[in-house]
Subunit: 350 residues, 2 copies
């Protein structure tokens, strides 16, 4: 049936204007596009009554101040990567990625159907007066750009590499001279040889920043970012003030934006890799001794935090159990198919 | 800012009641749950004004009559798997899965960011007066239940196996005696030895149907269903009659439901596999000679259709190009990580 009678509920829905600060330059249509998707979907879903305006990093607050800004209610919401804030609480990394952690679908399964999102909001984000919703993912990233080959563990000794977060902590344990640089500083530092290597995201984003012009060796995989989830942060008081229908709109918009970003990366990375290789980029794989040593170093860090950080301990056991179940199941089925099918198409045929 | 003034637009949104027929028993909370999610989200997003009621297969129309029912406007919409209807047009399989085709994320990337959904709606679904939106995915399925091991290609000769769709066509080329049975008929046929093998979905759904009690050998992977996308079908005239805001709600609800189902399968399959193995199920892998022969047979079928079926030809080239790009990129990065990380957790530790 269909009636045109107006509804009291709809008429009472407020006009809202919210600001969403992000950590991204708006030149990255993938990752900044995730914030734009959330805003667009919420507007579409509410007939334009609830409008969210995204801001590039630095426009209202610095790109790494998103958590602080939402926590302090300077802005209503943000779009960022939780591992930027592991200095405040290492467990925030579980909301984004950790070295040798879960892949994109596994991370999403833990968040949405494995109790992960509830656990993180209850035990971690509540400490900052905010909540987090998954709202984008880059997929597994690339291991970055190197001016010279790094064929083995020994070749990492003293290497000056730009790599943030837990990946940097692991690299430091392997003897790397870890550098912290903002995205815009990477290219000139690589060009002048101030650093020997840098990681960013993957072929599509990396090509835009031009790293291939100053470092020819492109390594796979980013064992430190087997997925990288981006999150919408919402101030808890602002969330509580929303009508239920707007909460639902925001939650469903984030879920849709989450996977639209994955689809975008998956569609755009292959032609970008093809383009990079036509420009002389050498695709390399990290050696087994590097991968093995890095994994050992990563779990030493996790075990240490489990002794010293009560918030970490509340998440880590649950996370590890879910990860291990996912790995065993994926090895039993998905990986069997992929190992047969994927390598049959050579990169040169891209 | 926040004002409470009523909006003309909102007040004019109609109350709608739509019916959504499905192909699923409502005992499968995963796959039928996808239809329920779409209905729930749309209701939440419209303040209950646009309500969709899902029906289990057989309630209003038979489980394999969803396309016909939506095409004929018997009901406004449906939730089904497009490969059920390859007898009408083989190209419908691209909306769900084909043997040795794309995995879940790749399928979604093609549909949402690679032009696949537009292409399928324009060239295939328009012939039936309907449109399709991705609204769920099982992930890669399992290769099914066998009463005896099938260690090599020779052992498939004359094997009586329940396997529908293109998978069945490929198996027939390999010498399998292909059987067509509805889901509910599989268990008794396996039990009585009327069939030697049957495929269904994966650990969580399969366990519910009890196949492990009558066939102990559980094979991986389902090379014939490396993903299986479920779709919402909407009658084109009904879609055109919707206010724009309801079209957006339906589209965004499907996108969110699509990935909630993937997360559900990814979270529920590992403990189900653990449970099955504790009941004596033997996990096996298809041999390389079976996989290789099956792939050859599959592409012979595709190449044949490319000669004879104009609709198939409009999709296949685009699809194959996208698939090959995805495979090469995934082999270069994602597979390197997964091959290192996943096998380290033995199934016995599940």
């Amino acid at each position: 049936g269909l009636t045109m009678a107006p509804l009291a509920g709809a008429a009472n829905l407020p006009r809202l204007r919210w600001r969403m600060v992000t950590s991204w330059p708006n030149s990255l249509d993938t990752i900044y596009g995730g914030a734009e998707d959330v805003a667009k979907y919420v507007s579409q879903l509410t007939g334009g009554r609830f409008r969210i305006r995204p801001y590039a990093g630095g426009e209202l607050v610095g790109g790494l101040q998103v958590l602080d800004a939402v926590s302090a209610d300077t802005v209503e919401m943000g779009h960022t990567a939780s591992y930027y804030y592991i200095g405040k609480s290492p467990a925030l990394a579980f909301d984004c990625t950790v070295p040798f952690g879960m892949t994109t679908r596994q991370q999403n399964a833990w968040q949405m159907q494995g109790g992960g999102n509830e656990l993180l909001n209850k035990e971690v984000f509540s400490q900052f007066g905010i909540m987090s919703l998954p709202a984008g993912n880059t997929g597994v990233q690339m291991g970055g750009w190197f001016r010279k080959p790094v064929p083995d563990l020994k070749s990492l000794q003293g290497l000056k590499m730009r790599i943030p977060g837990f990946g940097g902590k692991v690299m430091a344990k392997l003897g790397v001279n870890v550098q912290t640089l903002a995205g815009a500083e990477i290219y000139p530092a690589l060009e002048r040889g101030v650093i020997d290597a840098a990681e960013f995201v993957g072929p599509y984003d990396d090509q835009k920043l031009g790293f291939y012009q100053v470092a020819k060796y492109y390594y796979a995989p980013s064992w430190w970012e087997p997925n990288a989830q981006l999150s919408v942060y919402i101030n808890n008081k602002r969330w509580a003030s929303l009508p239920r229908q707007y909460q639902d709109a925001l939650r469903i918009a984030c879920a849709a934006a989450n996977w639209n970003m994955v689809a975008k990366y998956d569609a755009k990375n292959p032609p970008a890799l093809k383009s990079l290789m036509s420009k002389g980029v050498k695709l390399e794989k990290f050696s087994n001794d590097i991968m093995t040593a890095a994994q050992k170093a990563a779990f030493e860090i996790y075990d240490g935090l489990n002794q010293t950080d009560p918030t970490w301990r509340k998440i880590y056991g649950e996370w590890l159990k879910f990860r291990n179940m996912e790995f065993a199941w994926a090895a039993a089925d998905q990986l069997v198919y992929e190992s047969f099918a994927f390598p049959q198409v050579p990169l040169k045929d891209l």
